[in-house]
Symmetry: C2
Subunit: 123 residues, 2 copies
């Protein structure tokens, strides 16, 4: 819109904000982007349910379909998205394609999240 580039609408006029003397460092935009992408991928009930199963053991698409009482193309779509974010890995064996969590870091992220979700009293 304006030629005024990036002018903040509001700001504490002239106030010094380092009240406690501790300077903060801006997060790396690239790191934030990658991390947010992962969180976004985990932030869907269907996908998270799927991952909660894969956190227990490797499973093929049809078994996931069966356990989640959903249709196979839907599961496959979700797995594709999760694989594009390197959250799951796939391995073909005959007619079946087996999926598992990509690494232990992801497994921890998921179990920590689920733990938090379990503990929450309510709201």
């Amino acid at each position: 819109m304006g030629t005024m580039e990036n002018e903040p609408t509001h700001a504490c006029l002239g106030e010094q904000h380092a009240e406690n003397g501790v300077a903060v460092q801006l997060p790396d935009p690239l790191v934030c982007a990658r991390t947010a992408a992962i969180f976004r991928a985990l932030g869907d009930v269907s996908r998270l349910s799927l991952l909660a199963l894969l956190a227990q053991r490797e499973m093929c698409v049809s078994e996931l379909t069966e356990k989640l009482s959903d249709n196979l193309p839907a599961i496959s779509q979700r797995l594709k998205l999760l694989r594009s974010e390197r959250i799951v890995r796939s391995r073909r064996q005959g007619k079946h394609v087996y999926y598992s969590l990509a690494d232990n870091h992801i497994a921890l992220l998921i179990s920590n999240g689920l733990e938090h979700g379990s503990e929450e009293p309510h709201g």
Copy 2:
């Protein structure tokens, strides 16, 4: 399997899927829903950048606005959403409202995520 209700489009016909003999337990839908909501809230670059700042120390809305070079209403909106998910807490002091991460569990979730996002080579 009795009636036609909820018939999956595809399934491994008659195959036994517990090849390794380990039964999986379905995740609690309520836990999944709450956890997914938290992950979804973390899964946005603007919100995550904001949280990365709050992970360092408590800050008021204007300081966040300044550090993130954004406009105040936008920041406030994001904080509102994060507060509704109990990810941040707010505390008023005079004209200023100070925000911080809601609890240590959330702080860990965020720092673990960012750590993962830093390590990833790329693709």
